[in-house]
C-alpha cells in the first residue's frame, strides 16, 4: 500500500518533469491546465479546481528550481491560481466584492471543458470523410460557358443622329475648302518618290515643293511640313540621306 503511494508519487514527479521539459509543446497555460487535469482521471465537470491549482503551482515551482524560464503568461496564470486558491480556502469575506472563489473555479472548469470539447470536435471533424481524399468531385468538369450577352441598344435613330451630327459639323467646317491648302504626307511622298531619282547632289528640300505651293503662306507651310515628313520617311526607308548644316539652315537631301 505504502509502496504503491510512493510509486504513484514517483510516477507523478516523472510526469511533471516530462511536462516541464516539454513546456514548449504547450499552447499556453490553459493547455497545460487541461493536460494536468487529465491526471485527476475524473470527468472535467467534477474536477477539483483546487487540486488543479495546486498541481499548476507545483509545476511552476519545479520549473523555477530547474531554472526553466517560463513565459509571462504562465506566471500570470500562476498568480491568478494562487489568488483563486486563497479564495477557495479562506472563508468568504462579506466585505469583499466581486466573484466568489467557487464562481471563479466554476468558470475555469467551464473553460477547460469547453477547450476539451473543441479539441474533440476538431478531431471528429478531421476524421470525417474529406473531399479529394475519401470522396471525389467530377474529374472532367464541363465548362459552363458564361454567355455574357451584351445587348447593344443602338437604334436606327441613334445611327442617323450620329451621322447627322457628323454631317452637321461638315456644314460648319467644310473639309473641301481646307483641303485646297493642305498637302498630305501621302501626297508629298508620292511626289518625292517620283523626283528623288534626280537628286544625285545635295539639294534643298524646299526646291521639291510643287508649283503654286511656294507663294501662298498657308500652302507653303503645309507643303513644307509634308515634304519634310515625307523625306524623313524616305530616310527611314534608306532611299535618301538628309542633312542640315546649321540651325535654320536649309535642309538638304540626296539620293543614296
Amino acid at each position: 500500500m505504502d509502496g504503491d503511494t510512493q510509486f504513484g508519487e514517483v510516477e507523478e514527479r516523472l510526469a511533471a518533469e516530462a511536462l516541464i521539459v516539454d513546456v514548449d509543446g504547450f499552447e499556453g497555460p490553459l493547455d497545460l491546465l487541461l493536460v494536468l487535469s487529465r491526471t485527476q482521471k475524473v470527468d472535467l465537470l467534477k474536477i477539483s479546481v483546487l487540486a488543479l491549482a495546486e498541481q499548476y503551482l507545483e509545476f511552476v515551482e519545479r520549473a523555477k528550481t530547474l531554472r526553466i524560464e517560463l513565459a509571462a503568461d504562465y506566471l500570470v496564470m500562476a498568480a491568478w491560481l494562487a489568488f483563486l486558491k486563497s479564495r477557495l480556502l479562506l472563508p468568504p469575506d462579506p466585505e469583499d466584492e466581486g466573484p466568489s472563489g467557487e464562481e471563479l473555479a466554476a468558470h475555469l472548469a467551464f473553460q477547460l471543458e469547453r477547450l476539451s470539447a473543441m479539441r474533440d470536435c476538431a478531431a471528429k471533424l478531421m476524421a470525417r470523410d474529406q473531399k479529394n481524399r475519401d470522396f471525389f468531385v467530377r474529374g472532367i468538369p464541363e465548362d459552363v460557358t458564361r454567355v455574357r450577352k451584351v445587348r447593344y441598344t443602338a437604334t436606327l435613330l441613334d445611327l442617323m443622329q450620329g451621322y447627322a451630327r457628323l454631317k452637321t459639323r461638315d456644314d460648319f467646317r467644310p473639309y473641301v475648302m481646307d483641303r485646297d491648302h493642305v498637302m498630305t504626307l501621302e501626297q508629298a511622298l508620292d511626289r518625292m518618290h517620283g523626283l528623288i531619282g534626280y537628286a544625285g547632289e545635295w539639294t534643298d528640300l524646299l526646291s521639291y515643293l510643287p508649283e503654286g505651293w511656294e507663294t501662298d503662306p498657308q500652302r507653303r507651310r503645309s507643303a513644307t511640313a509634308s515634304h519634310f515628313a515625307a523625306s524623313l520617311e524616305l530616310v527611314k526607308n534608306g532611299a535618301i540621306q538628309i542633312r542640315q548644316t546649321d540651325l535654320f539652315a536649309p535642309i538638304q537631301i540626296k539620293a543614296r
Partner: protein, 214 residues
Amino acid sequence: MEDVQEESLFEAPPIAEQERMVEAILFATSEPVTVAELNARMPHGADAKEALEHLRKRYDGRGVSVVKVGEAWAMRTAPDLGFLMQKETVETRKLSRAAIETLAIVAYHQPVTRAEIEEIRGVSVSRGTIDQLLELEWIKFGRRKMTPGRPVTYMVTQEFLDHFGLESARDLPGLKELRSAGLLESRPPPGEPMADEDDEDENQTEMFEANEED
C-alpha cells in the same frame, strides 16, 4: 436557348426530363449548384427541387451520389469507394493543430470573433492561422459584431461543408450535445460582464434557427 425558354413558357418539360437535366448539370460541374441556379438554367416552369429529390433517390446506393452542400447540390463519389481513386490531387498542406482547432471553433461557434477564439483556446491566434483557413476558403468573414470596436466575425463556408461532406453547419458532429451542455455559450468570466452577452446569444440562436428553417 432562348427559343427553348420561350417555348416552355407555356409548358414545363415532364419531370423525368427535368431529372435528366438536373443530372446533366450536376454531372458537368465540380462545384455545388444552388436550386436557384438550376432553375435559372433549366427551361421555364421547371421545378429543380422536385427533380432533385427524384435524382437523389435514383443515385441512392450508387457509386456516385447526389449530396446537399449548404444551399447547393453536387455529385460526389461514394466515400466507401475512395480507395479506388488515384490520389491525383495535391495533398493539402498539413494543418497545424492551432489551425484545426481554430477551424472547429469557428464551425461550432460561428459567427465568432478572433477575441472569442482566443478566449476559447486560451492563447492568441496568429494571423497566419486565420489566413490559412481563409485561403483554403474554409472560413469567411461574417458580419461585424455590434460590440465596441465592431470586430469582424468568422463563419464557415460552403467549401467547408463540401470538403467535410456536411449538408449544413447544423450537421456538425456532436453539435446538439455541446449545445445542451452549454458549451457553445459565451460565458463571461465572473465579475466581468461582457457587454455583448445578449447579442451573442441572439447571434447563435439566430444562426442555428435560421438554418433549421431550411
